[in-house]
């Protein structure tokens, strides 16, 4: 199948491994990713927190480009980008005044027919293929599926999975052979864009999430958002310093875990880019090639 691709700003730098692993996994599962040409930033938090029109106009430009490329729907791996594009679609559909304003700003008419999907929705459609093609047994790997706050909420905007008791990530993780754990903080916010401007909040919130995953017996956490990944991976040392987290917990992008189960090369999947080393996990599953060493931050 073919789907439009909107990587978003962080997948080119701070979350490179998300992009790398996703492209490899997509190729392996016969999903053709066609990048939206000349896409611009979705505006993320800073646009919607300061300027409503800007927060709708920027994502709409991307959707207009996708429409020009005749893409029926666009995959947004970053949960925040996904939520911004989906929200823009929702506002265009329900706020006629804003829709007219954005149309005049962009100078284009737009029929709002291009859909947006998250990585959870995309991979949910191919769980059968994942199960069939799984080469590396991930049995006994206990995974905490962390949705974050924006992947399936609010339900009126996302329209996918259950906003309080979601299960799409668990289905995908189960298809890889790993065991998703039942835990309580799957939808709690990690602190989002406060990583730089209010780091203490991120440390406080992230610690609760990691603790809960640990208490539920998880060895690995799987995420679907570069911001969540950065907050939980890059900032994990600060959280451990606050106490209570004995061992490190590797934070994997969903595509990295799926890539591992498909037998893809861990270093090509970008696993060497993490701050919290996933080496313990790789050892446990007997991954094909050893990963290059990096100074473990933890």
């Amino acid at each position: 199948m073919k789907v439009g691709y909107f990587p978003g700003c962080s997948l080119h730098a701070t979350a490179r491994e998300f992009d790398e692993s996703l492209r490899l996994v997509a190729a392996d599962l016969d999903i053709e990713l066609e990048e939206v040409r000349d896409w611009a930033c979705c505006g993320a938090t800073s646009a919607h927190a300061t300027n409503r029109a800007l927060s709708v106009a920027l994502p709409t430009r991307t959707l207009v480009l996708a429409e020009k490329q005749k893409l029926g729907r666009v995959l947004c791996p970053c949960a925040a980008c996904y939520n911004r594009l989906a929200t823009a679609r929702h506002i265009l559909a329900h706020d006629k005044r804003m829709a007219a304003r954005v149309q005049s700003i962009l100078g284009h008419s737009f029929d709002n027919s291009v859909g947006v999907v998250s990585i959870a929705e995309m991979l949910s459609e191919v769980t059968a293929e994942i199960r069939m093609k799984a080469k590396v047994p991930l049995t006994n790997v206990k995974v905490a599926c962390y949705y974050g706050c924006l992947l399936v909420r609010p339900p009126a905007v996302c329209g996918f999975d259950d906003a309080e008791a979601p299960s799409s990530l668990e289905s995908i993780v189960s298809a890889t052979g790993a065991t998703p754990v039942k835990w309580n903080m799957a939808l709690e916010c990690c602190g989002g864009g406060f990583s730089l401007s209010r780091t203490a909040s991120v440390v406080r919130l992230g610690r609760l999430i990691l603790q809960a995953a640990r208490d539920a017996g998880a060895q690995v956490m799987v995420v679907a958002c570069p911001m969540c990944h950065s907050n939980l991976d890059f900032r994990q040392r600060a959280m451990k310093e606050r106490g209570g987290l004995s061992e490190s917990m590797p934070i994997l992008f969903l595509s990295e875990l799926v890539g591992l189960s498909l037998g893809l090369d861990p270093s090509r999947l970008g696993l060497s880019r993490h701050f919290v080393s996933p080496q313990p996990l790789l050892d446990r599953i007997g991954a094909p090639k050893p990963m290059p060493e990096h100074r473990e931050q933890a």
Partner: protein, 672 residues
Amino acid sequence: MSRIGVFICHCGENIDRTVDCARVAQTSGELPGVVHSVDYKYMCSDPGQALIKQAIQEKRLDGVVVGACSPHMHEKTFRKAAAAAGLNPFLCEMANLREHCSWVHEDREQATRKAIDLARFMVEKIKFNRPLSTIFIPVERRALVIGAGIAGIQAALDIADGGREVVLVEKEPSIGGHMSQLSETFPTLDCSQCILTPRMVEVAQHPRIKLLTYSEVESVDGYIGNFQVKIRKKARSIDETKCNGCGECQKNCPNKKIPSEFDQGLGMRTAIYVPFPQAVPNIPVIDRTNCALFRGRAKGVKKVVCSKCAEVCGRKAIDFDQQDSFVTENVGAIIVATGYQLYSIGKEQDSETLRGYGEYGYGTIPDVIDGLQFERLASASGPTGGKILRPSDHKEPKTVVFLQCIGSRDPAKGIEYCSKICCMYVAKHTMLFHHKVHGGKAVVFYMDIRAGGKGYDEFVRRAIEESHALYLRGRVSRIYRNGDTIRVHGFDTLAGEPAVIDADMVVLATAMRAQPGIASLAQKLSVSYDQHGFLNEAHPKLRPVETNTAGVFVAGACQAPRDIPDSVAMASATASKVLGLFSKELLEREPLIARVDRVTCTGCFHCERVCPYGAIERKPLKDAKGRLIKIVAEVNQGVCQGCGTCQATCPSKSVELDGFTDEQIYAAVNAL
């Protein structure tokens, strides 16, 4: 030529202040056919009425038009006066010069001209009035009560004590309803079963009450005074004439692990069971879905899988081949008292518009229970013998958190109304908990406290001041299992602080809803219901126990969320309506109903299709030899409400509303 009398009322100043009544009377007097026209200060008073009577007799009037207030007020008054003077009451009409004129206009000249028009309108109409006589319908003076909870029981007892027979139908194996499941009732903290069971026994023993349990209404035909109700008696698999209630069958049934409905899933029952020890009638029923013998039969197994109950029954009362049977009862009035069910927080709902509570676990957390389940825990005859114990590990919970408004006042989850009883029963629960669990702590998350009944607010204050329940004003965002406890993330809006509590048990005060299947029952009765399934009363203020279907009344929680005292009061009110209906052998009806001209009727039955009340019947017309000429429409005089829809629809103008014929209407309209 007509001899019409016109009487214009001043209504004190109500009409005269704006309308020149003398002028209206004078102008009306000049109309052809009017032989008498006066104005007077108060037509409805005795002297006013005397004027009318006198004029009828002296001037030999054949029609009377009273220009006064709304017919809703005094049409009956003036018609009675006319009848007393020897004039057919339906030759007396009113022109509304008050609500339609003086009360809604200010300009005296314009209002007076309008009043003159209104009077003329009626004068021209009345020239085509025909004398009509009251219609009498025989009444079957027996009542049917559907539902034998406290409301149905009360209604049945009141009617039976009033000297009339009652058929009481209950779909469960025993009567008693939800009240029989309760531990204590507010505000008295009476033991619920202690006050209920005497009534249940009275019902069972009453000579004028025919009790049909484990039965449901299958179909309803007829109309007020003359209903034929077909009732399905579901197969208990027990011969009721033989069973003596000894209970041996239950003791010996090998399947003891079926979740008990009466205990709201917290306890177990057997496949052959009596729902609770005080059940009326004390006759068991076999749950064919779970009974091994019947499951074997359903699979096609030839041999008898199990018949332990039949083997131990000393009276040979078990009948595995029993089938549902039907009885038809003729009754004159029907009372619906089907009660309520509680809202489920689960993901699966029985209505598209409802959503469960994912943030409270979708019903998957074992120690999160609802109000009725707490009642079963607290009840001495319940699964824990009256001890408050956690369903998961049967330990005594020290900290119990109660959440009010679960489902209620929550448009996002599909229900915007308030369920009325929850504030009271949660207060009651905290008091029971305080009494039973020493050192226990009860926390209540609420939005408002609705305690408007007699002694109700004082009751809630007792819960706070004497039982030391902690009341926090704020709704809970989320609850989840956290190790051995349940973490409750709430807020205290009065203190302005988050309130996070680790509870041993959580009780949800879930919304009161109408029973499942109520839509189908309502349709059988032609009773309307709202989007939530609650049955509609005829008028919310002044006719709260009647429905808009004549002869069908409503009592208790099936009409709206309601507590026991109000349900009982409502039930007695319906009984008084029914006894009033039954006070005469014949029902009197106003003859302002439709009538079909058989000669011109072509039998197209458009009228039947559009009649909202089902009042059109098909009548075959036969010649002297019995051969069919044609089938015509006929109006059932007991059901027709005189709405006129048929008259507007009939393509051959064969159906007319007596009192509002086309002739009358055209004459009046042309007069303007």
